[in-house]
Amino acid sequence: MGQKTLTLTLGPLQFNWSAEVFADFYARVADEAPVDRVVIGESVCSKRTPFYRDQIPAAIERLKRGGKSVVLASLALVTLERERRAARDLFKQTEHEVEIDDLTLMNWTRPEIPFAIGPLVNVYNEATLAFLAKCGAQRFCLPPELPFASVEVLAAAAAKYGASVEVWAYGRMPLAVSGRCYHARAHGLSKDSCLFVCAQDPDGLAVRTLDGADFLAINGVQTLSHKYCNLIRDVDQLAQAGVTGLRLSPHSGDFVAVARAFAEVAAKRIAPDEGFALLRQAVPEADFSNGFLFGACGAAPLVSA
């Protein structure tokens, strides 16, 4: 026998890729990546949406044909009128599940319409999880900064409400969101006349300390970790704690290989160390960490379980 295989969720693309690259990426995911759910749409900056909006319906169609369940992403920081309208419209459609990444959308939820809570909503404890579950939340991707002890408690709490818990398992971790665009600032521009310079950096723009140490990555209004979260060797421990899903966040490079490595390890077809070696091969330049869950801090070197 085996325990139930973990669900793999592809998180929303965090970066500003061109429409062609966007379309190719989701086509390949639909056809080749062994993921179960795909969250698609803009969560970082609403100014990017017009560039690839037309590609989304076709991408969704193809993902469905590939057997994936499709979830619509929402914006992380909603301040403008048009962003509020877009948030409301997301909930008016009932065809697809919605992932809430800002509590603005809680104004439109109804208990009879299930939805998911994304990693940018502050679910730190069982009381918050319980409240949101009663509002209709069925799936929670937990904030990446949570330590393992919290994940255990929250997974147990979710089970009580028939909800499931997913953790951020791969990719640069979202650390902050701002009203200000740092990509624009680094190029001497302002947010309102940004020239979409964030498109130049498919995995974010590296931020180094004055000592030359790798530290962070900026992505428009968002700040990410330099390190890529990598929980592939912790999959067993997470499953035992009651975690039912792993979130893989899109990056450039061979993402299908990344998804395959996780899928093989989750299904116990290969050993965690083997999976780790596959990831190392797929993204040789990435610096990995599982520090938020198991180490002294989010930037801590990989800790073995």
């Binding site: 909603v78 509020r84 104004n107 940018l120 502050n122 404890n125 300390t209 140490a213 530290f215």
Partner: protein, 331 residues
């Protein structure tokens, strides 16, 4: 909503002495927290025991002032009692309101203490009318402290659309990121404002003189090199000096403080109820000077007179000030 009435001045206190200094200097309202992880300024040697809180609330009430107790970190999973006790004690000690950020804790407070006034902390980052409506409808929140990502025009639009009071920051340290949604500190140090109540905690800060420069490191990451004679900033990550592509400098924000004194008339016009001064971690000398200055400004505003020029630059980080996101060009 709200109106063009008198603006309420909400002032910080990290110690009972600063609390008294704030009231003496003209604060209408003082906000403070218990000496543990339940509030977002959980610094060594700071904050209030239950006995000190009791005395301080009485002191304020005798002088016609109000006390708000911040319980504005996010309770740790499996460890809710520390936070629910703080809310219970705030209610028992007669706080005029509690400032909360966590949904679970708001839910608890609204059910357990229906007559306790709830304010939504800036840590909840409710940045638009819909988010605010959710908190007002679900928990009966009476006031929202707005995150520092909004322009004055956006604040005015929010006030037109909601039925609760708004409070905005007018002076002091400036979060660059949406508050309560930032893990930069825990990425570098393992301690975060959301979980531990401390951003860039002193325990992880190291100051060093290197080649005539003051170098500050946080969790081992160099975040500043300041030449002799230059103003020094707090060792917070988002005010650090870094290299991003060809850009070398303050990638996120210069080490400046917020001073929106000149915008008081516009903020009043925008319908805000209360103006908040940041700085519970500062000394009572700071509290006294800043509160006195802003009380003078609010009295001038109420009397229809021009706002006196600010004299507080010497107290600010980097000795420079900005009006932050209130002006659109900041973005």
């Amino acid at each position: 909503m709200s109106g063009q009435g008198k603006l309420e001045l909400v002032c910080p206190a990290g110690t009972p002495a600063a609390f008294r200094a704030a009231i003496d200097a003209g604060a209408h309202t003082v906000y403070c927290g218990f000496n543990d992880e339940t509030n977002a300024r959980n610094f060594p040697g700071l904050n209030f025991s239950r006995a000190e809180m009791t005395e301080s609330i009485k002191f304020a009430h005798r002088r016609g002032g109000k006390t708000l107790i911040a319980v504005n970190t996010f309770p740790r999973a499996g460890d809710l009692a520390l936070w629910t006790n703080a809310v219970d004690d705030a209610a028992r000690l007669g706080a005029d309101a509690v400032i909360l950020a966590d949904i679970g804790l708001l839910d608890y407070a609204s059910r357990r203490h229906p007559s306790l006034r709830l304010h939504l902390s800036v840590q909840a980052a409710a940045a638009n009318a819909d988010a605010i409506a959710f908190y007002a409808r679900s928990f009966g929140v009476k006031r929202v402290v707005l995150p520092r990502v909004l322009t004055v025009q956006e604040i005015a639009a929010i006030n037109r659309a909601i039925a609760v009071e708004t409070e905005v920051f007018i002076f002091g340290g400036l979060c660059v990121m949406a508050e309560g949604r930032c893990s930069l500190s825990s990425y570098a140090t393992g301690k975060s404002p959301n979980m531990n109540g401390a951003c860039s905690p002193a325990s992880h800060v190291d100051y060093h003189e290197e080649d005539g420069e003051l170098v500050s490191r946080l969790g081992g990451f160099a975040i500043h090199r300041v030449a002799a004679g230059q103003a020094a900033p707090y060792p917070t990550l988002c005010k650090g000096c870094f290299q991003a592509g060809a850009y070398r400098g303050h990638v996120f924000e210069d080490p400046v403080s917020l001073d929106a004194a000149s915008l008081i008339p516009q903020l009043a016009e925008a319908g805000v109820t209360a103006l908040k001064i940041e700085g519970r971690q500062r000394s009572r000398a700071y509290t006294e000077a800043v509160v006195r200055s802003f009380r003078r400004a609010l009295d001038a505003q109420a009397a229809g007179k021009p706002i006196p020029a600010s004299e507080l630059r010497g107290l600010t980080e980097g000795q420079q000030t900005t009006s932050g996101a209130y002006r659109k060009t900041w973005r």
